[in-house]
């Protein structure tokens, strides 16, 4: 067993694992919102649109963490704002506007990074470099995770209502637009926090896999938030330990571990798993169950 935990005694590896774990906590929470509101495409779009912003910042300021953060955030928010405006001012729906914008911006980002850097640099943006994370990455991930947890703690009621029924939220005087914007900013910040370690493509797995896994197990919103964080952190450590043990690339190992937890849940979750569904007998009318069966 000790072979699996050897990475904890190496400061560099332990820092990388801690960075990923912090990123997992924030991504686990934000991922629940994206899953519940069916906004997976928005996360995808924001992640891809980070590239031109981070790319320009990197060209202008080198590997400055602040510059990458600000550049990525500006690009992501510009995408969200642009998609919102397109949806309101043209006949496009918001998902189509997001898809159109992020495809174009991603292509611009690839050109920018390729033009100024090397293919290796582009790969770093796309897939990250877990073992190269430094103290600044750890601080950023810890800060963003803390802010995300605090935000969800402070606004848990408004977030739940906004995710479940935004029309009702507006009707009772809730600050629907503020919460929605805050969640978009939280998505962008958490993507940037995970960018160096996991890259644009793999970071998405950290958002969507724990939340969708938790969704297969939980019937309550609070439980789903906690479970998603726990699954994200557990999958991160399992993947990281496996990558150290078997000399595998760390980022893909983490996302693959989360993917394995998701597949196991999709198969064996007692209520919503495939096996349970196949084994469930056809329902017949039972006393006291008439509403459930008859009216659906």
């Amino acid at each position: 067993m000790s072979g699996w935990l050897d990475f904890l005694s190496d400061p560099g590896l332990a820092r990388a694992a801690a960075t990923c774990a912090f990123a997992a906590v924030g991504a686990g929470l934000v991922g629940c919102v994206l899953t519940a509101r069916r906004l997976a495409l928005v996360a995808d779009a924001l992640a891809h649109s980070l590239l031109p912003g981070a790319g320009v910042a990197w060209l202008l300021f080198g590997s400055s963490m602040t510059a990458l953060l600000v550049g990525g955030l500006i690009a992501a928010l510009a995408t969200a704002l642009g998609a919102g405006l397109l949806a309101r001012l043209t006949r496009l729906k918001e998902d189509a506007a997001f898809a159109a914008l992020f495809s174009a911006l991603f292509a611009v980002g690839v050109v920018l990074v390729q033009r100024a850097g090397t293919p290796v640099d582009l790969l770093r943006f796309l897939f990250g470099e877990v073992l190269a994370v430094g103290p600044a990455d750890l601080r950023l991930a810890a800060t963003v995770a803390t802010l995300t947890v605090a935000g969800f703690g402070l606004f848990h009621r408004a977030i739940a209502i906004e995710c479940f029924d935004p029309v009702f939220h507006r009707a009772i005087g809730g600050r629907s637009a503020l919460i929605h914007s805050g969640l978009l900013v939280a998505t962008a910040l958490n993507l940037i926090a995970a960018l160096h370690a996991l890259g644009i493509v793999l970071a998405l797995g950290l958002f969507m896999l724990p939340a969708t896994t938790a969704y297969l197990w939980c019937e309550r919103w609070g439980a789903m938030l906690v479970a998603s964080c726990a699954i994200a952190v557990a999958g991160t450590f399992i993947g990281f330990a496996a990558s150290c043990r078997f000399a595998l690339p760390s980022g893909p190992s983490i996302v693959a571990a989360l993917g394995a937890l998701f597949v196991l849940s999709a198969l064996f979750s007692p209520r919503h798993g495939l096996v349970a569904r196949l084994r469930r007998p056809h329902r017949h009318l039972r006393e006291g169950d008439t509403h459930t069966v008859c009216e659906r």
Binding site: A36, F164, A171, I172, G174, H291, E295
Partner: protein, 243 residues
């Protein structure tokens, strides 16, 4: 209790409903009927303040309804809510208190009592821990109404609450609404297409065809002659009324 004074509502320059005048007393269960595009949903949205009045006014107990928004609850069709969301019945009904509690204030004994009363009024006590994904259509509608009741509303405005429900579930819902309006200074208006249900179980009705065809006791307002007049006339589409 509720007075509509010469109310005219427009989409742009096109009137969706014009010159509607009617009065409904406390305890009334009002069917708002009429063909598609007659302006039923628009009228409900205007009463709750979601659609501006071009002319006329809405009074609640003699004062402008716009100043008493907390007393009004508008329920859109239940299909606008994601029923796969991971919540239990009690969680959704408790959301009804959020407008009073704000973002941070915790639940008090009074809040818990209001939620319990709303659950009981809609016959949901035994379903409090049931995931909303496991509810029938009728139960879903009752959960949304209970959420509005928990918020302390005493005027309910329901947009097609019987859509998709079988006759038993619809009758059950009407009975619960009647019991609720009859137990206090309360009123409920339902936009609906189920004329038979309206005639049999509603106390009052308001029949629209962009203009007021009839208003008053349900069996009189929904008399055959009035229905023939309402459903034969030219209909203007109420653009975006369900938005």
């Amino acid at each position: 209790m509720l007075s509509l004074r010469d109310l005219t509502l427009c989409y742009g320059r096109t009137p969706a409903v014009h010159h509607v005048a009617a009065e409904f007393p406390a305890g009334a269960l009002v069917a708002v009927a009429g063909p598609n595009g007659a302006g039923k949903s628009t009228l409900l949205r205007a009463i709750v303040g979601l659609h501006p009045a071009t002319a006329g006014s809405v009074l609640l107990d003699g004062a402008p309804a716009g100043d008493q928004r907390h007393r009004l609850a508008w329920l859109p069709q239940r299909s606008v809510v994601d029923w796969d969301f991971p919540l239990a019945v009690g969680d959704v009904v408790a959301m009804g208190r959020a407008g009073r509690l704000g973002a941070w204030r915790g639940f008090s004994a009074a809040d818990r009592a209001a939620v319990a009363e709303a659950l009981t009024a809609m016959g949901l006590d035994e379903l409090i821990d049931r995931p909303i994904a496991a509810l029938s259509g009728g139960q879903q509608q009752r959960v949304l109404i209970a959420r509005a009741l928990a918020g302390g509303a005493d005027v309910l405005l329901l947009d097609e609450p019987f859509a998709g429900l079988d006759l038993n579930a619809a009758r059950d819902l009407v009975a619960r609404l009647r019991a609720w309006v009859g137990s206090g200074h309360r009123l409920a208006l339902c936009a609906l297409h189920e004329i038979d249900v309206a005639r049999a179980d509603f106390s009052h009705a308001l029949l629209l065809a962009t203009h007021l065809v009839a208003a008053g006791a349900a069996h009189e307002a929904l008399a055959d002659a009035n229905l023939a007049s309402a459903f034969a006339g030219p209909i203007v589409h109420d653009h975006g009324a369900h938005r």
